[in-house]
């Protein structure tokens, strides 16, 4: 048992490490592709040669990031097959279809048009080159779509039926899998956050050039584009984040409760603007959940339901299966104890199905299959010992959510100031404080981006597929030591790649700063 727990923990740590390193590169690729396309559009529309030089400068940085980041995500697929074999079989073609589409796009679309982007200057017409650049920007976003569709299905499994003979979930509605509200919000939220991240990167690097008093005109022009794209990104990220919160309230209310450290909900629930999670707090006890709390009245009810007079359930309410109507009447939902009973019934039915299958008893198989279908909604709860096992790590989810929101709010202000400075108060562009704010914002936006994924992935624990499969049932029978070894191997590999990226980028930026960026074409 200890070995199993250890294997689960090491496999989770390895997947988290791989995914988080992968996500360092991806949002910059998504956002920088758009910014380069915008800059090249300005070049084609105005005919000013300086924009060609500026476009090529940022395109080179895009190329560095693309080259270092490409294929880092493929390791996640290796991990599915080795460490998560129960899971990867159980999800069936639902995961396979989006990933296959992503592979086709990544290979054909990006590979083809990235080549035109880099090798096609003066070889193809301006219009065709511009179209290629836009298709790269479109292609990288589209690749992200299919990955996020797969991820969204794990958070909101829809559009399928479980087949116990195959032991797989069989997709019966592609449209529902691909285009449900959860997947669409997740897609636009992630892509817009990429625009925001790349906008911050462009503004930050431009601030560094301004601080060095090098390529001032190119830096000012770049800063303006980066700030506008970043502002559009952060506004769209906030809008889709609001949509995501509504969806989380519907399909993953336990995650929402953990994000807010909420144990006992009420009508007109406030939103914690500031506070510390009490690490000793457990479901059902009387300890204070949040210390030094400063809350916004009605905030969480508005966030979750767009209505200040609605009930938002806390962790205790969800476990007990209790909700309140706007009039204050108590409504019973399915308690977690009942869910565990139903999950065990589904598991028992699966055991009976297995025996009937081996005995060739079709009537018993049919009876067992009906019982599985009846209780399948809570199949995963059959692997939990007690209702409290369905509570995610509250502290980590709470802090990640609040860090994301704080930095997101800061970035909105940051882009407004950057636009104000570049358009109306150009004297600010000579101020060292603005330069340093820009430079310091670069690591902040990455922290914000990573915190978002921590909320999404830690907040849904213990589920690898919401309500259907907990992490401890998804794992393969592999020794913990093997996973531990590859964890450290990846830690070294990815750290080396990150060091290579940062080193090559810094050297390229420093070298370019000594030349005239506007004339380097």
């Amino acid at each position: 048992m200890n070995d199993i727990i250890s294997t689960v923990d090491w496999s989770r740590a390895q997947f988290a490490l791989t995914a988080m390193y992968h996500w360092l590169f991806v949002p910059l690729t998504i956002g920088l592709a758009l910014i380069v396309a915008v800059m090249e559009t300005i070049y084609v529309r105005t005919g000013l040669e300086k924009w060609k030089g500026i476009t090529k400068f940022w395109m080179s940085l895009f190329g560095i990031n693309f080259a270092i980041g490409v294929a880092t995500g493929i390791i996640l697929e290796f991990e599915f097959g080795t460490n998560w074999s129960n899971y990867s079989w159980f999800v069936g073609d639902i995961f396979g279809a989006p990933l296959a589409i992503e592979g086709i796009f990544a290979f054909f679309m990006e590979a083809t048009f990235v080549a035109v982007m880099f090798f096609g200057w003066n070889k193809v017409s301006k219009g065709f080159h511009l179209a290629s650049t836009w298709l790269v920007a479109f292609g990288v976003a589209l690749s992200a779509l299919w990955i996020l569709v797969a991820n969204a299905w794990m958070q909101n499994p829809v559009g399928m039926q479980f087949d116990p003979s195959q032991m797989r979930n069989v997709m019966d509605n592609f449209g529902e899998v691909a285009f449900n509200a959860v997947s669409m919000n997740k897609f636009f939220h992630a892509v817009a956050s990429g625009w925001c991240l790349a906008g911050t990167f462009v503004v930050g690097v431009s601030c560094w050039l301004l601080w060095r008093k090098s390529n001032v005109n190119a830096a000012r022009s770049s800063l303006k584009v980066g700030a506008w794209v970043g502002l559009a990104g952060i506004v769209f990220t906030m809008w889709t984040g609001d949509g995501s919160a509504v969806q989380v309230a519907k399909v993953q209310p336990m995650k929402l409760a953990a994000m807010e450290g909420l144990y006992d909900g009420k009508i007109g629930q406030e939103l914690v603007a500031f506070g510390f999670v009490n690490p000793d707090k457990r479901p059902g006890d009387n300890l204070e959940a949040i210390k030094c709390e400063f809350a916004l009245p009605y905030g969480l009810s508005v966030l979750a339901n767009h209505d200040p007079n609605t009930f938002v359930p806390g962790i205790n309410d969800l476990i007990k299966g209790v909700s309140l109507t706007p009039d204050g009447d108590t409504v019973n939902t399915v308690s977690y104890a009942e869910r565990i009973t139903m999950g065990k019934a589904a598991r028992t039915a699966l055991l009976d199905y297995d025996r009937a299958l081996k005995a060739g008893d079709e009537a018993a198989m049919s009876d067992a299959q009906a019982r599985i279908a009846e209780n399948f909604k809570y199949f995963g709860y059959g692997y939990l010992d007690k209702p409290e096992d369905a509570v995610p790590p509250v502290g980590l989810t709470f802090y990640a959510f609040h860090i994301m929101v704080y930095i997101g709010g800061y970035l909105l202000l940051f882009f407004i100031v950057a636009i104000f400075a570049s358009r109306w108060k150009t004297s600010w562009l000579e101020k060292p404080w603005l330069h340093w704010v820009g430079i310091i914002s670069i690591p902040l936006v990455w922290i914000c981006s990573q915190a978002g994924w921590v909320v999404a992935e830690v907040g849904r624990q213990p589920w690898v597929i919401q309500d259907l499969m907990p992490t401890n049932a998804a794992i393969s029978d592999v020794p913990a030591s093997a996973v531990q070894f590859t964890f450290w191997m990846f830690a070294v590999l990815f750290t080396a790649l990150l060091a290579a990226e940062v080193s090559i980028m810094l050297r390229y930026i420093a070298r370019s700063s000594r030349k005239n960026i506007e004339l380097s074409h």
Partner: protein
């Protein structure tokens, strides 16, 4: 049970919808209407790649990083450390299904469930 559709319809449809306008744009823009034009086009594409690779500066370093990384990922990581367990340990999908069913039914994660299985087995005996 509803008929599963999955990759068989959704996948080609999605590819078709995206690829058709892209290829159409290519053809319209380059005005390809004869074999000669096609040969010229291929020659131009080849020349673009050839000149592009020849004139690379920063790109050489990046291709080196990509080559080393892909070699590590596919020749070391995948081959030595990450076998697809179900694909390598079992020959047929039926055996793989059975292996996953065994794992999900019998996994000793839960005392109550173990008691239930024991009771069930005793009753059957």
């Amino acid at each position: 049970m509803r008929k599963p559709v999955g990759i068989s319809t959704g996948f080609p449809l999605a590819i078709f919808c995206i690829k058709t306008p892209v290829i159409g744009y290519f053809l319209l823009h380059l005005r390809i209407d004869t074999n000669t034009a096609m040969k010229t086009l291929l020659a131009r594409v080849f020349a673009m790649y050839r000149d592009g690779f020849r004139n690379m500066t920063l790109g050489r370093t990046l291709w080196l990083v990509i080559a080393v990384k892909l070699a590590i990922i596919f020749l070391v990581v995948k081959l030595l450390f990450f076998p697809d367990r179900l694909a390598s340990d079992y020959d047929t999908d039926s055996e793989r299904s059975q292996a996953v069913r065994d794992a999900l039914v019998a996994e000793p994660q839960n005392d109550d469930f173990n008691k239930h299985i024991l009771t069930n087995l005793q009753n059957n005996e």
